[in-house]
Amino acid sequence: MRKKKIISIIIFPGSNCDRDLMIAVEKNLGIKPDLIWHQTRNIKKTDLIFLPGGFSYGDYLRAGIIATKSPAISEVIRLSKKGTPIVGICNGFQILTECNLLEGALLKNSSQLFKCEDVFLKVVSKNKFTSGYKKNEVVSYPIAHSQGNYFVDDQKLKELEDNEQIIFKYTSKEGVINNSFNPNGSKNNIAGIVNKKKNVLGLMPHPERATDNFSSKDGKIFFKSIYEML
C-alpha cells in the first residue's frame, strides 16, 4: 500500500467544474481531494494541485486574470517553484498563463463564439502527466470555452517545441493536424502545454468530462497517469 496522497482543488468564486473534477479524481484515483478556498493563505501539504474550469470572478477583464490576484494563487506559485505538480484545466489553464507559470496567452476564439463540442487531441509529447498514453495517440475530450485560442510568439513557440513542452494538439480522428481541425484558432493547434520544469500542465479540453460510461472514456487514462506520477 502506498501512502495516501493529497490532491488539492482550488475553488474560486465562479469555478464551475470543481465538482466534476472532484468526482473524476475520486472515481479514478480513489482519493478524496482537498477543496481549497481561494482565500487560503497557506496551503500546507499537497502532492498535486488542480485549478478547475469555470468562470473565476466571472472571467471579467480577461479570463483568469482576477484569480491570479487571490491568496491561493500566491501559494500555487510558491509550491510550483518547489516542484509540486500543478494542473490547470480550461479556466485553470487561463489562470496559469495569466500568472506566468505557463508561457503564452489565451485569446478569444477566432470565431468570437463560445464553443462546446467533442474534439480529438493528439498526445504529441509524453511526460509524467500523460504517461498512460502512447506517443501520438489520438484521444477525445470535450471542449467548452470562449477563450482558448492559444497564442505565443514564434521564438517562444520554438522553445516550447524544442523542449517538448507541447503536450496536446487539436487533430482529426485520424491524427491530421491542420486548420480545419482547429476549434479556436490556437497557434499550431496547441491545446495543452507544460512549463520548462514540466511540473505545471495547462490544457483547454476537459479530461474530467471524459471519464463516464456515457461519454468518451479517454480521460480515465489521464487521471491514471496522474495517479502514477504521485
Binding site: 468564486p13 464551475n16 467544474c17 466534476d20 466571472g58 463560445f114 464553443k115 467548452a144 456515457f214
Partner: protein, 725 residues
C-alpha cells in the same frame, strides 16, 4: 413625491379608468405616485394574469407525483427516493427584442432564480426561440444576440444548456419569442417556499445593488409595441451571471442551515412583487426602510427602488437568531446582505424613507382584488381555399426541407452552449428527442423537452396546443422516460382583441384536454401577451416544456442505430399532408392540422415505453412529427452517419409523398436489434410494421430515391453557416 395623479400619469402606468377607480376604492383615498406605481406593476398583465387567470384555473394541476403546482416560483414533481424536480419556463420576449443579448441573458438568469429559490440546484436549461423571417433586416442580429446571451449566461453560471427549439417565421419579425426553461434537483425534505411568517422577523436583501434598470419592465412586457418603443432605452436590464453564480451557491449553502423561513427572487416588478407576494401568502404585513436598500445610483427615489427590475437580487425572511450566520455565509461569497425591513401583523405594506412614511398599502386587497377579466372572444372568419398540390419530386422536397432555416442543423446555436458541464448530461441536442440528464449520484435520469408548432396552432389553436402537449409527451417516451408533468409558456398577441382571446382560450382548452387524457398535469407556467407590433400579431405559440423520469439510466435511448438493425414504424399512417412541411415547401399553408387520438397516443406510448424499459431490443428511437417519416429517418441517418434501406408499403406506392411526409400523430420509429424477436410483443391495439433496415451509406427509399448520408449532413449544415458567415 407629491405629484398630482393626472389622467396622463394613469395612462402611462397602463391602468384603465376603472382600474384606477378600484384603486381609490381599496385605499379609500387618492394614491400617491409611489402607490400608483406599485398598483400598476402588481396589476399588470405580467404579474396579475388578469386576462388569463380565469382560464388558467381550469388546467389540471394535480397527480400523485405533483408536490407543488402553479402558484409558487416553480412547479415541483416527485421522482422517487429523496429526489424531486423543480421546473418552470418563462418568457423574455420584449426585452430580447429591444436588446437581444441582455434580454435573453436576463431571461435565463430569471428562470434559474425561480428554480434555486426553491432550494433546487439547477441541472439543465432549455430554450424555445422564435425569430422573424431570416430575410428581415433585424433577424440576424437578434439571432446572434439572443443565442450568445443565453450561452454566455448559462455557461458562466455552469448550468448545462441541453436543448430547445428555434423557428423562423415572418409573424415574429417585430416580436421575437425567447422562452427559457430551467430544471432543478431538490431534496424533497429541503424545499423552500415563499410564504412569509413570524411577526418581527427580519427581511433580508441580497445581491446586486438596485439601479434604475427596467423600471416599468413589467408594464412594458404587458404593453403592445409601437415602433418608437425602441426608444424606451433606460429600461434595459443588464445581467451579471457571476453574481447569479454567487447567489446560487450562497443561497444553497444558507439553505443547508436552518435559517430561512421564506425566500423569493426579485423578478418582474422587483422588490414590489417579491415583498407583496411573500407577505400576501403569509397573511402578514411588512415594514420596509427604503434608505437601507443598496443602491447603485445616487438619489434614487422610493418609486424607483420599489419598481426597479435590477437583476440578481433575492429577498429572504430569516429566523432572527440566524442573522449572524446569514451575513457570514453571504460574506464568504463576497455578497453584502442587508436587513431592509421587518414583518408585521398589520397586513399593510408600510414604506419608510428616512423615517418618513412614504407609502402605505393593504397587502391582501391589493393582491387579491387584482382585476380578473373575462374578455370577449370570437373565431376569426377565414375563407380557406384549399389549394391543390400536384406531384412533386420527393428527393428534391427532402433536400428543400433539410436546407430550410427551420429544419437544418442547429449546431451553430447549440455549440455556443456548454451542454456537458456538471458531468450529468447523457444526451443533448440532436442526439435524442429529449435531453437526458442523470439525477446526480443516482442511476436515474430525467428527460426534458420543449415543443410547439405554431403553424398548427395558427390554423387551429386547440388542436395545435394538443399536439404540442402530445409531442412533448412523445419526445419523453422516445428516450424511455415516463412523462410526469409540464410547464407552459403561452405566447399570444393582444387579448383585448376578440380573435386573439379566442386563440388563447382555445389553446388553454387544448392543453387541458391533452393533459387530462395523458395524466400529464401542468405544474408551472407563464403567459406572455401583447406580442404584436403595429397591429400584426404573432402566431399563437403555446410552448410546452415536458419532464419525465427514466428509472434506469442504462435504458435511456437516443437516435442511435447499428448496422443491420431492423427499423419499425409504430402507429398508424394515413398520410395527413395538410399544414405539413411538404405543403409548406410549396407555399401551401392552409388546411387543418392532424388530429390526435389520445387513446392511440397513450397505447402507442405505453407500448414503446415498455419495449424500451423491459427488453434489450431497442437500440434507438425517434418520434415522428413535422416532416414525417422522411425527415425522421434523415435525422437518424445524419446523427449516426449511417444509411438505411426503406420499403414503402404497397398501399402508398401510388402516392408515396403521403407515406414519407405525412404528419399523422402518435407515431415512432424504432431501431431494433437484428436478432430481437418482435413477434412476442406485437399486440392487436398497436400498429407496428417493419419498414426497413440500417444498411449502407445512403438514405434509400427503395425504388424511389436515395441520398448519400454525407450529402444530407452537408445540406443540413449549410443554411446556418451561410446565413451567419
Amino acid at each position: 413625491m407629491n405629484e398630482k395623479i393626472t389622467g396622463k400619469i394613469i395612462q402611462d402606468h397602463n391602468l384603465t379608468k376603472s382600474e384606477y377607480n378600484l384603486i381609490k376604492k381599496i385605499l379609500g383615498r387618492i394614491p400617491n405616485i409611489l402607490e400608483l406605481g406599485i398598483f400598476s406593476v402588481m396589476w399588470s398583465e405580467h404579474c396579475s394574469y388578469k386576462s388569463t387567470k380565469k382560464w388558467l384555473k381550469t388546467l389540471p394541476t394535480k397527480s400523485k407525483k405533483v408536490i407543488c403546482g402553479p402558484g409558487e416560483n416553480a412547479g415541483i414533481i416527485d421522482i422517487g427516493g429523496k429526489d424531486a424536480i423543480v421546473f418552470k419556463m418563462e418568457s423574455h420576449n420584449h426585452p430580447s427584442f429591444i436588446e437581444p443579448y441582455q434580454g435573453a441573458a436576463t431571461g435565463v438568469g430569471g428562470i434559474m432564480r425561480d428554480v434555486f429559490t426553491m432550494g433546487a440546484r439547477p441541472i439543465a436549461n432549455l430554450n424555445s426561440l422564435r425569430f422573424g423571417d431570416p430575410k428581415n433586416r433585424k433577424t440576424k442580429n437578434l439571432l446572434r444576440g439572443v443565442v450568445k446571451g443565453i450561452g454566455d449566461y448559462g455557461n458562466c453560471v455552469g448550468i448545462p444548456t441541453v436543448g430547445g427549439e428555434c423557428f423562423f417565421h415572418e409573424s415574429y419579425n417585430n416580436n421575437i419569442l425567447v422562452n427559457a426553461m430551467c430544471v432543478g434537483l431538490v431534496d424533497k425534505k429541503k424545499i423552500f417556499y415563499s410564504t412569509a411568517k413570524g411577526i418581527g422577523n427580519p427581511v433580508i436583501y441580497v445581491g446586486s445593488k438596485t439601479g434604475r434598470d427596467g423600471i416599468h419592465g413589467a408594464t412594458m412586457a404587458s404593453a403592445e409595441f409601437t415602433d418608437d418603443s425602441t426608444n424606451n432605452r433606460p429600461q434595459v436590464q443588464v445581467g451579471d451571471p457571476f453574481m447569479e453564480k454567487l447567489l446560487l451557491e450562497s443561497c444553497l449553502e444558507l439553505m443547508s442551515h436552518d435559517a430561512i423561513i421564506a425566500i423569493q427572487d426579485m423578478g418582474a416588478a422587483g422588490l414590489t412583487s417579491s415583498s407583496f407576494e411573500m407577505a400576501s401568502k403569509g397573511n402578514c404585513g411588512v415594514k420596509l426602510f427604503l434608505e437601507k436598500v443598496p443602491c447603485r445610483e445616487e438619489s434614487m427615489t422610493p418609486y424607483e427602488m420599489m419598481l426597479s427590475e435590477t437583476q440578481e437580487r433575492m429577498l429572504l425572511i430569516i429566523k432572527p437568531n440566524k442573522k449572524k450566520l446569514t451575513f457570514k455565509v453571504f460574506k464568504k461569497w463576497g455578497l453584502d446582505a442587508v436587513e431592509i425591513g421587518k414583518l408585521t401583523n398589520t397586513g399593510t405594506m408600510e414604506l419608510y424613507m428616512k423615517k418618513k412614511l412614504v407609502g402605505s398599502l393593504p397587502i391582501k386587497p391589493l393582491a387579491e382584488s387584482a382585476p380578473e377579466y373575462d374578455r370577449p372572444s370570437k373565431k376569426k372568419n377565414e375563407v380557406t381555399t384549399h389549394k391543390k398540390i400536384g406531384k412533386k419530386n420527393l428527393k428534391r422536397t427532402l433536400i428543400k426541407i433539410l436546407s430550410s432555416p427551420n429544419h437544418s442543423s442547429k449546431k451553430w446555436i447549440f455549440q455556443q452552449y456548454d451542454s456537458s458541464v456538471m458531468g450529468d448530461t447523457i444526451l443533448s441536442s440532436e442526439k435524442s428527442d429529449a435531453a437526458v440528464i442523470r439525477v446526480h449520484g443516482t442511476q436515474k435520469a430525467v428527460a426534458i423537452t420543449c415543443d410547439c408548432n405554431p403553424i398548427y396552432c395558427k390554423s387551429n389553436p386547440k388542436i395545435g396546443a394538443e399536439i404540442a402537449v402530445a409531442e412533448s409527451w412523445r419526445n419523453l417516451i422516445s428516450t424511455g422516460a415516463s412523462p410526469i408533468a409540464i410547464t407552459d409558456n403561452l405566447n399570444f398577441g393582444n387579448p383585448e382583441k376578440k380573435e386573439i382571446m379566442y386563440e388563447i382560450k382555445q389553446a388553454i382548452k387544448g392543453i387541458k384536454n391533452a393533459c387530462e387524457k395523458l395524466d400529464y398535469p401542468v405544474v408551472s407556467g407563464n403567459v406572455s401577451l401583447y406580442n404584436e407590433t403595429n397591429k400584426i400579431s404573432i402566431m399563437p405559440t403555446p410552448v410546452i416544456g415536458g419532464v419525465g423520469l427514466i428509472e434506469k439510466l442504462e435504458n435511456a435511448k437516443g437516435f442511435k442505430m447499428i448496422e443491420n438493425a431492423n427499423i419499425f414504424l409504430v402507429g398508424k399512417t394515413k398520410g395527413h399532408l395538410e399544414l405539413s412541411l411538404f405543403h409548406q415547401m410549396y407555399n401551401v399553408t392552409q388546411g387543418n392540422p392532424p388530429k390526435v387520438d389520445f387513446q392511440k397516443e397513450s397505447e402507442n406510448g405505453k407500448f414503446v415505453k415498455t419495449l424500451i424499459s423491459k427488453t434489450k431490443g431497442v437500440i434507438g428511437c425517434h418520434d415522428l412529427s413535422e416532416g414525417g417519416i422522411g425527415l425522421c429517418l434523415a435525422e437518424l441517418c445524419m446523427s449516426n452517419n449511417m444509411g438505411v434501406k426503406i420499403n414503402i408499403p404497397k398501399k402508398f406506392q401510388s402516392n408515396p409523398e403521403k407515406w414519407i411526409f405525412g404528419e399523422d400523430q402518435s407515431r415512432y420509429i424504432l431501431i431494433i436489434e437484428e436478432k430481437f424477436d418482435m413477434k412476442k410483443f406485437l399486440n392487436k391495439v398497436v400498429d407496428i410494421n417493419k419498414i426497413g433496415i440500417v444498411k449502407g451509406t445512403c438514405l434509400e427509399f427503395t425504388n424511389y430515391f436515395e441520398i448519400p448520408v454525407k450529402n444530407l449532413i452537408k445540406l443540413s449544415n449549410k443554411w446556418f453557416n451561410e446565413y451567419l458567415k
